[in-house]
Subunit: 149 residues, 2 copies
Amino acid sequence: MVKRVSLGDAACPVARSLDGIGDWWSLLIVRDAFDGVSRFGEFQKSLGISKGILASRLHGLVALGVLAMTPAADGSAWQDYVLTPKGEALFPVIVALRQWGEAFCYRPGEPHSALVERSGGKPLAPLVVRSAGGKALRARDTVVRKLSC
Amino acid sequence: MVKRVSLGDAACPVARSLDGIGDWWSLLIVRDAFDGVSRFGEFQKSLGISKGILASRLHGLVALGVLAMTPAADGSAWQDYVLTPKGEALFPVIVALRQWGEAFCYRPGEPHSALVERSGGKPLAPLVVRSAGGKALRARDTVVRKLSC
DNA sequence: CCAGTCCAGTTCTATTTTAGAACCAGACGG
DNA sequence: CCGTCTGGTTCTAAAATAGAACTGGACTGG
């Protein structure tokens, strides 16, 4: 491989995001964190991931500022991994992936988990990309402008 | 590795999405496709990816139904890779990653590309997760319900 | 306070995936 | 036809991964 290509200095925000969280496990760890998982052993059981990879991913996400290690929570002397504001901001990413998976990755009638409103249990509205004025936009209504600030 | 863990049969839509498009390159290929890239050589030049990986990723995305191969477009005898409706539906995922990257992966004032409205050039509104009734929701206002249909 | 067990890793090795270069075949252009 | 461009496939070395073994500190029961 010589060296896995680094996108960390790319001008495209999509590339830079994926450089940090675009690997096989990071977004699943973040999804579990949204679900309330916070302990090393819980992540490992939930994901079926090997401990070595989990440790390196957790430390990577902490270094990136997506997760933070906080002492205790239930009083024990161990660590909790909790979402930072930067990690919380990934919520739309997770929801977008979830809605796409629900719509396209299951056969009709095949059971799957669903994200619902906590009070009431009703499903969420589909994510919609909107203009600054609030108008719904399709992909072809948008264009990438290079190198703005 | 024995065998890379397969998430293709997971009950969680996030896991299933990532099983298909969660690798290092697939989402960047899709991003370029949204940007109008359609030829093998264009993808290769834009991404700096090796041809072997690009070929396997393109074929994987075609097998998944995200891209389709269509003959010609400019009349030549080669193939175009274009987004299918399933691929077009990834637009909110790309936008979510882009907005997160813009917000958290650049130093203040550091230049980056931006996705803007085609007519007018104004930036997009931030993606917001909403309830079925249209109310904006934070992560903690939602909960995962297991195994619904 | 001591042995046994659980939690949270680190280290090790075999296997898989990846990157990149070299190679190849079919269009295309003169 | 003959060189060149496009779109790949094949090859090898390097990197990432899974899984098991190992470690060491924290709780638990007696």
